[in-house]
Symmetry: D2
Subunit: 329 residues, 4 copies
C-alpha cells in the first residue's frame, strides 16, 4: 500500500529526503552471481548530476554510492542490494523562506494536505534528488539485460528539435549545436524562467513475450514507470498521440507503428516510448534565491533509461518463470 516500492519480481524500494542525511535504494529479487561494476554505477550517477551542465543547477552533489549489502567479491549475492548516497552541501538556509511558500505544480501544498506535516526545507521526496535512487536501481536492473540497449534522448526543447541522424549532444539532443542550447538555457535562467521538453526512449533488442495482460501490460507499466518521475506529464508508445488521427488501414500497414508492443506484450522489435516533461515550477524571484534547472530534460534522460530497465528486468523475470514450463506435459 505504501508508494516507495516499484516492481514485482525485481523490486526497487527507495528512501531519502533531499535535505535529509542520505538517499537510498534497496533492490530485492536480484539473481545471484552477476558481476557488479562500481565504476559503471558511478558513471550512471554522474550522468544524472545537476552540476554537469553549465546552465543547470550548480549544487555540487558528490553522489558517491556506498553499497551496504547484496554484493560480495564483485558479484550479487541474491540478497537485497542496498546502496546509499549521502546528501552534501545542503545549505538549508537557502530554503528558509519556503516555509510558507507553496510552489504551483509542486508537492509543497499537497504534502501538507496529505500528511498534515512536512519538511519545509525543500521538496523532500518530491525533489529531483529522489531520482538518484532510481538510477541506482536501473543500473542493477541493467545487469539482467545484456545485449538490450536502452537509449533516451530529447526530441524537442524550446526551439530545438533533434534531427533523425547525428550524435547525441551533451544536452541529450541529436544533431543540435550544444553551444546554442547552452545559450538558450542561460537566457532562460537569467530571466528566472523555465521550459518543458519532449523526450523519447528506444529499446533495441528487447526480449519478446514481456507483459502480463490485462493490467500489467508492458505499455502500461512503462507508462506508470515514466509518469512516476516528478516532471513527466504525458506518455505514449508507438505512434502515441499520433494514433488519434490515423486510420486503421494506415496504422496496420506497418507493424513498426505499434512501437514493439502488441496486445500489451513485446513482439521482439525495437520498442519506442515518448514522454513530456513540464517546465520546473520554481520561477521568478524564487528561482534566483535557490539553485534550479531551467529545463529538467537533460537530467531526466538517465532516469528514464533507469525506469525502463527496471520495467524490462521485472517483466523478464516474470516471463522467465512462465517460460520455464513451456513444453511441460
Amino acid at each position: 500500500m505504501p508508494g516507495s516500492s516499484f516492481g514485482n519480481a525485481l523490486r526497487l524500494t527507495t528512501f531519502g529526503e533531499s535535505h535529509g542525511p542520505a538517499m537510498g535504494a534497496v533492490i530485492d529479487g536480484m539473481p545471484a552471481g552477476l558481476a557488479v561494476d562500481v565504476g559503471r554505477l558511478a558513471a550512471e550517477l554522474e550522468r544524472r548530476r545537476p552540476g554537469r551542465l553549465d546552465a543547470c543547477t550548480s549544487r555540487d552533489e558528490a553522489d558517491d554510492a556506498e553499497i551496504l549489502s547484496g554484493v560480495f567479491e564483485g558479484r550479487t549475492l541474491g540478497t537485497p542490494i542496498a546502496v546509499i548516497v549521502r546528501n552534501r552541501d545542503q545549505r538549508p538556509a537557502d530554503y528558509d523562506s519556503m516555509i510558507h511558500q507553496f510552489r504551483p505544480g509542486h508537492a509543497d501544498e499537497t504534502t501538507l494536505l496529505k500528511h498534515g506535516f512536512r519538511d519545509h526545507r525543500g521538496g523532500g521526496r518530491a525533489s529531483g534528488r529522489e531520482t538518484v535512487a532510481r538510477v541506482i536501481g536501473g543500473y542493477f536492473a541493467g545487469l539482467l539485460l545484456p545485449g538490450v540497449e536502452v537509449v533516451a534522448q530529447i526530441d524537442t526543447l524550446g526551439p530545438f528539435r533533434s534531427s533523425r541522424e547525428g550524435e547525441l549532444g551533451i544536452y541529450g539532443l541529436r544533431g543540435c549545436d550544444s553551444i546554442k542550447v547552452a545559450a538558450y538555457l542561460e537566457t532562460l535562467k537569467d530571466s528566472a524562467d523555465s521550459i518543458g521538453a519532449e523526450l523519447s526512449c528506444r529499446i533495441q533488442n528487447p526480449p519478446a513475450g514481456l507483459g502480463e495482460p490485462v493490467f500489467d501490460k508492458l505499455k502500461s507499466d512503462f507508462g506508470r514507470a515514466l509518469l512516476s518521475i516528478g516532471a513527466v506529464t504525458a506518455y505514449g508508445y508507438g505512434l502515441g498521440a499520433g494514433f488519434a488521427s490515423a486510420s486503421g488501414k494506415d496504422v496496420t500497414a506497418e507493424r513498426g507503428n505499434f512501437g514493439g508492443i502488441e496486445g500489451g506484450i513485446s513482439n521482439g522489435q525495437s520498442i519506442h516510448l515518448q514522454c513530456t516533461v513540464r517546465a520546473p515550477s520554481t520561477v521568478g524571484d524564487k528561482a534566483k534565491q535557490g539553485r534550479h534547472d531551467p529545463c529538467i530534460a537533460p537530467r531526466v534522460i538517465p532516469v528514464i533509461e533507469a525506469m525502463v530497465k527496471l520495467v524490462l528486468a521485472d517483466h523478464l523475470l516474470r516471463q522467465r518463470a512462465l517460460a520455464s514450463f513451456q513444453g511441460a506435459p
Copy 2:
C-alpha cells in the same frame, strides 16, 4: 506477479476470454454495508455494450450480470464481490479463418510468443469484451465515492471536435451532430476501415491528499489504469503533452494547468486527464467477415470512467488509513 489484478486496498481481479463461457470480476477490499443498486450496475454495463450504437459491432451480448458473492440483502458484506456475465452469441465459426492470421497491433502473435499456445477463436483476454469486468469493478468502486463525479468524453473523432459547451451526444462528443457522426462511422465501416480518437475525463469534487509518492503518484496510477485498456496508446494529465512547449512562468500562472494533481497528489481541485485510442486493427476483408467497431471511442468511455473510479477508490482507502492517525500523539 500475474497481471489480472488491479489495485492495492481495493483490488479488482478479472477473468474470462471473449469466446469462453463467461467474463467475471472479483472486487476484494470493499467495506461492508454499502447499498448496491443492481439496476445501476446493469445501466453501466449497457453503456459499454457494442449493440447500442448503429455503426458499432452488432454482437448482441445480453450482458446480464449475476452477483455470486459479497452482497446480502442489498448491501456489501465486506467479503469479495464476484460478478459474472455469460458470453452468448459466440459464433465461433466466424473466427475459424483466424487460426493463422495475426492482426497487426493485436495480441494474436504476441500471445503465442508469450505462452506458446492460444485460443485462436478471438482476442481472448485481449478482446474488448474483457472490459465488461472493468465496468463492473468501476461500479463498485463508485460506491466509495459519493459526491465525486467522473465524466469521460470524446474530444476528437475523425473530423469531429467536441465544443466546450453543449450536451454529451450518444457518441460521447459534446455539441456534435450525432447523425453526422453516425454517417461518418457508417462510411468507415463500409470501406472496412477504422479510426482513432482523443478522449478526456474530468473528475469533479475529488478528495484531496490522494496519491502515494514516489511510485504510486496519482498521475502515474491514472496513467497505468488508462493505458491498461487495450486501445489506449497515449495519456496525459493537466496540460499533458502541451506542457512541452510551455514556459514555467506561463505554467505556474494558473494552478488549473496541473489538472488537480501536484507532486503526484490530488489538491482537491477538478482533475483532468486525457488519452488517445488507436484505430481498431481489424480492417480490410477481415473487418467484413466478423463484426467490428470502426471506432472504439464511444465504448471506451464507461471503461475509462470505471478505471478512474477504481484508482480513486483504491487511493481513498489508502489515504483514509493514514489520515486516521493524524493528530495522534
Copy 3:
C-alpha cells in the same frame, strides 16, 4: 491489502459465502499448455465433501465445478482460470435462530466487530465450505508439480493414533480400524460434542532451493498457508514443537530432523509438516439443530494438501525465474 488472495507468482483469489449463490476460485499466473483433467478435479472436490463420511455433516453438496475461463481444448491458456461451484441445499431456515447467537471461537461476533454488518445465515466466509475454492486452487497448483507427492494424514484423533505403517483409512488415519473410528465419531455426534486432532503432511521429491528469505521462508509460508485454514490452531515443521527440549548435538545428528527445510529453503529431501485442528465450535443444542461435523480432520486433509501445493507451486515459479539467470555472465 484485502485478504482473499494467496500467493505471489501463482495467485489464488477466492470468493463465496456458504449461503450465497456460489463459491469460486480464480487462479492467476498459471503457465499455458498444461493438460487439465476435469475428472481429477472432481475427485479432489469429492474428497473434501462432507457427505462422504457417515459421521460427518450430511449436507448433500453436489460440488459440480464449472470452469469459466483459462482452459481451452483441455489445456491451460496462461490466462486466469476461474472455477465456480454452486451452493445447493442451503436450507436457510435452519439458521434463523442464529441471528443473535455468537458461537465461541467462530467468526460470528468478530465479523460484526469488524464490518458492522454480517450474513447471519451461517459462517459466510468463515464456513468450512470456503475450502472448496482452496481445493480447486490446489488442483491447478499440482499441475506444476509432476513427480512431487503431497500426502496429508491424521496423526491423532481422540483415542486413535496413526501407526507408522499401514494403509490410510477412509478417515485419514494410518493403520486404524475405520469401524471403530466411525463409532467414536457417532458417539460424539450423539452427545452433541466434538473433538480436535493432529495432522501431518509429507512432501516427497520436492524441488530444492524453494523459499525466499528472510520473510518468505518456505517454513513460514507453509505455516501461513495451513494456519489460514479456519480450524488450524498450531503448526510445526521437522521436529516442530519437539525442538524445544532437544539439544543441538542431538538435533544436528540427523539432517532429517529439519524436515527438509534448512535456513527456510528446501534442501530437496522430504518435507514434513504438522498441524493441529481444534474441535468445531458448534456443540450442544446448536449441534443438533444444524448439520455439523464432530471432527473436522478428515475433511481438512485435501485442504492441507491443496494449500501445500499452492505454496510449492508459487515458490517454484519464483525460484525458476531466479534460476534462469544462473550461469549468466
Copy 4:
C-alpha cells in the same frame, strides 16, 4: 516476489549480511507526525544484543542506529523511514574454515542450492544478526499502537519453567533464578552444546476487528511473522497444540481458550501466542571456534515482540481504512 519485505499497509524491507558493511530497515507506510524517541529505539536494540548476556555470544556489536530518512525534527514525515546499523568487529578470519562446512539446519547448503553462490564468511541473511532490522521495524510499528502492550517471555528452557507469577528475569523467564539459568547455559557452552526453548507472547489491549479473512487471518499472519524468524520451528495461538485433545464442549466453555482471535479476527481480548525455537546448529568443535549462543531464546524475545507489533500495526492500518466507511450510506 522477493522475500525481504513484510507487511502490506505498513511494509518493512530489510537488508544486510552479517559480515557486510551494515544491516538496515526501510519502513514504508508510516503516518506522519508521530514522535520518534531515538533513546527508546536504542534501548530496544540493546535488548537484542548478544553481548548483554554472559552465556551468550560475546560479539561486541555496538548497534548504533543511524536514521537516514523519514524523520524530521523528531517526528515521522510520512515518507519511508530508513535506519542502518553498521557491522563492526567482523573478524572474518574466524569463519575461514567454514567455506566448505555446511551446518545442519542452517542455510549454508540451501543458499548454495538456491543461488549457486554465497558469502561463506557467515550466515549472511540467515544470521541472527538479521533480526536487528526487525527490531527497528518493530519500534516504529509500536508508534501506531499506544496503549497496546506486547510482552514475550520464555516458557521453558532446558530444565526451567516460567511460573505463572513473578518478575521476568534477565533471561526472559518468569520467576526463575537467573544465576541458575546462567550456570546452566554456561555448562552447555562449555560442552559445546546448545538447547531449544518455548516462548509465548501476550498482547494486552489489542484493537478489535483486526484480521482479513480468508488468507490474511490474524492468527496466520502472526504465524508467518514468528515462523519467519530463523530459529522458530513451531507456532500456536490460544490453546495451540493443546486444542488437539480438547473436546468442543470444553473448548467453547471459556472464550479465553481462543487466545483473543475468533474466525481469524481479534475480538479485543488479550491475544496469546506461543512458539518453539530450536537449539542453534553450531555445536561441537565449530562452537568453540566462533562465538555462539547456547540458547537463542533470550535474544529472540525482542524480535518476537517486534514481529507481533509489525503485524498489529499493519492490520490496524488496513482495518482503519475499512472502518472509515462504516456508517456510510
